[in-house]
C-alpha cells in the first residue's frame, strides 16, 4: 500500500499538506507524531472517509484514491477507528458477522480463527458489545477488522485509553496478526512501544512528513527521542 503526497482536511481547512508513506507486504509500520500532526486524518483519507484533494493512494498497484470505504474494504484494506469501533447494541457474534458483511463464504471458518486469536471473546459471543471492558472492546474491534482477511490493517491508536498492561496485550496480538502475514499500519501516541514493535516508522508533524526510517534508527535518533519519546 502506498500513499503519495496526500492533501486532505475537513471543510475548508487542510490538515495534511502532502504526506507520503508506503507499507510493503507483511510489513508493520508505525506512524508517530504529536497531537494534531494529522495521524488519524491520514488513515481516514487512505480509507476514503475524507476526500483526498491531491495526491494518490495505491493498494496492490491499483489506484484507490477517493474510492468509497465499502469499495476499499473489498480490495483488502481494513480499518479500526480509535473510538466507536464496535456496534454497541449488537452481540459480539453479530459484530463479527458485520465485519464479514461483504464476505460470501468461509465466514464460519474465519470466526473460528478470530475466536482462536481472541479466546476472551469466545464465551461472550452472545453478549452485547456495550457490556465489554475497554480492552475487550479493542479486541473485538480488531477481530471485526480481521473478518475479511485484509492484506493491510489500518489501526488508529489501539492502545488509547487502555491500562499499560492491557495495551501490552493488545500490541502482542497485533504482532501475532502481523506474524500471520497481514501488513499493519499502526498510528500511535505511544511512540516507543509502537516503534519497538514495527519494522519501520514515519514521524509526522503539522501535517507533513518529518522523518522516516527503520524503527530501530528512529528509536535511537536523539531528535525523535527528545520530541516524542519523552527521553
Amino acid at each position: 500500500m502506498e500513499a503519495q503526497a496526500v492533501v486532505t482536511g475537513y471543510g475548508e481547512v487542510d490538515i495534511l499538506h502532502g504526506v507520503s508513506l508506503r507499507v510493503e507486504r507483511e510489513e508493520m509500520v508505525a506512524v508517530i507524531g504529536p497531537n494534531g500532526a494529522g495521524k488519524s486524518t491520514l488513515l481516514k483519507a487512505i480509507f476514503g472517509l475524507l476526500p483526498v484533494r491531491s495526491g494518490e493512494v495505491f493498494l496492490k498497484g491499483e489506484d484507490v484514491t477517493n474510492k468509497r470505504p465499502d469499495q476499499v474494504v473489498v480490495r483488502g484494506l481494513s480499518y479500526v477507528p480509535q473510538v466507536d469501533n464496535v456496534f454497541p447494541s449488537l452481540t459480539i457474534l453479530e459484530n463479527l458477522q458485520m465485519g464479514a458483511f461483504v464476505r460470501r463464504d468461509g465466514v464460519r471458518e474465519k470466526l473460528d480463527q478470530v475466536f482462536a486469536l481472541f479466546p476472551d471473546l469466545v464465551g461472550r459471543r452472545s453478549e452485547l458489545a456495550r457490556r465489554l471492558s475497554g480492552g475487550q472492546r479493542q479486541m473485538l474491534a480488531l477481530a471485526r477488522a480481521l473478518m475479511l482477511d485484509p492484506d493491510v490493517l489500518l489501526l488508529d491508536e489501539p492502545s488509547a485509553s487502555l491500562s499499560p498492561k492491557m495495551a501490552g496485550m493488545i500490541f502482542e496480538r497485533i504482532a501475532t496478526i502481523n506474524g500471520s502475514g497481514t501488513a499493519v499500519l499502526l498510528v500511535e501516541q505511544n511512540a516507543r512501544q509502537a516503534l519497538s514493535l514495527c519494522n519501520r516508522g514515519y514521524v509526522l508533524a503539522t501535517g507533513m512528513n518529518r522523518l522516516d526510517g527503520q524503527a530501530r534508527g528512529l528509536l535511537e535518533n536523539p531528535d525523535v527521542g527528545r520530541l516524542y519519546l519523552g527521553a
Partner: protein, 340 residues
Amino acid sequence: MAAGVIGAWGLWALIGALFIWAAVDERQLFVIGLIVGSVLALGAIGLTLIYGILRFGNFAHGDTMMLGAYVAFFFLTGLVKEERRDTSIGFGLGDLPGATDRLGDLSFGYGFLLAAAGAAIVLIAFSVGLDRLVYRKLRQRKSSIVVFSTAAIGVAFALRAVLLIIWGPEPRTYFAGITPKNEYPFDILLKTNEIFTFLVAVGSAAVVYVILFRTKLGKSMRAYSDNPELALVSGINTDRVITWTWVIGGVLLAVAGVLLALQANLKPELGFELLLPLFAAAILGGLGKPQGAFVGALVVGVCQEVSVAYFSAGYKPAVAFVILILILLIRPRGLFGSST
C-alpha cells in the same frame, strides 16, 4: 423532577403495575387498548426505524399511513372525488365476483385483502421514491436533523392536501353495516374484525423482529443505526440499508393504515392526530429501538382506551401527550434507550 430519575427497571415496574391494574379493573377497555396499541405499534416501529437509520423524526408518518388507507379504499371501491361528487373510475377490486362476500364473521371479503396488498406496494414505491426525491438530496448536503424534520412536515401538509383533493373531507368506511360482537372468557366482547386486526398487527411486528434480529439485512440495519461510520467501514452498503428501511416502513404503514380504517372512519386529518401517540410510543420505548416502540405503543393504546372510563373520549390525544411529557421527565431514554 430531574431528568432520568428512574431506571429502565422502574419504568418496566410502572408499566407492569399499570397493565395489571387495567386488566383487573377495566378488562374490556384493556383488551381494546391492546388491539389499538398493536396497530399503533406498526406505525411506531416504522417511525423508530427511520429515526434510528436516517436520524430524523418523520413527521409525515401519520399522513403516509392515511395515504395507505385511502389507496386501499380506492382500490376497493374505485371512488374518487370529482366536481364535489363521488365518481367511480368504473372498477374496484370490490367488483370482482364474490370479493365482498364476508369471510366468516369478518366484515370483509378477499377484495379487501387484495386492496390492502395493493396499498402496501403503492406505499413502498411512495416511500422509496420520496427518499430519492427529497431526503437523499438532504443527505448529500449533510443537512441537519432540523432540516430533515422540516422537510417531513412539508411532505405531511402536502400529503394531507392531496388526500383532501382526491377523496374529499367526509369520513369514509370500507364497508357499511354492522358485525356482531362475540362473547369471550372474562365477559369480554370482541368483533372478529378486532381479533383479526390484533393478529395481523402482532404478526407483522413479529416478521419485522425476525428480519431485524435474524437476517443479515436486518443486522446490517441495526449496525448502521448503531454506528453509521463503522458500518460504512465494514463494507455495509448505506443506500441499500436506507432503501430497505423505507420498504419495511412503507409496508408497516400500509398495514397499520388499513387496519386502523377497518376499526374507525377514514378521514384525512386522522394521520396528523396519530402523530402524537406514535411519537409517544416511540419515545417511551427508546427512539431507534423497534422492540421498545412495540411495547410503548401497547402502553399508549391501553392508556388511551382505559382513560375513556374516566374522561371523555375526546381527551385521548391528551393522554398520549401526558405520557410523552411524563416519559421525557422521568426517563427520556425510554425503555430500551442506552446512554452510549
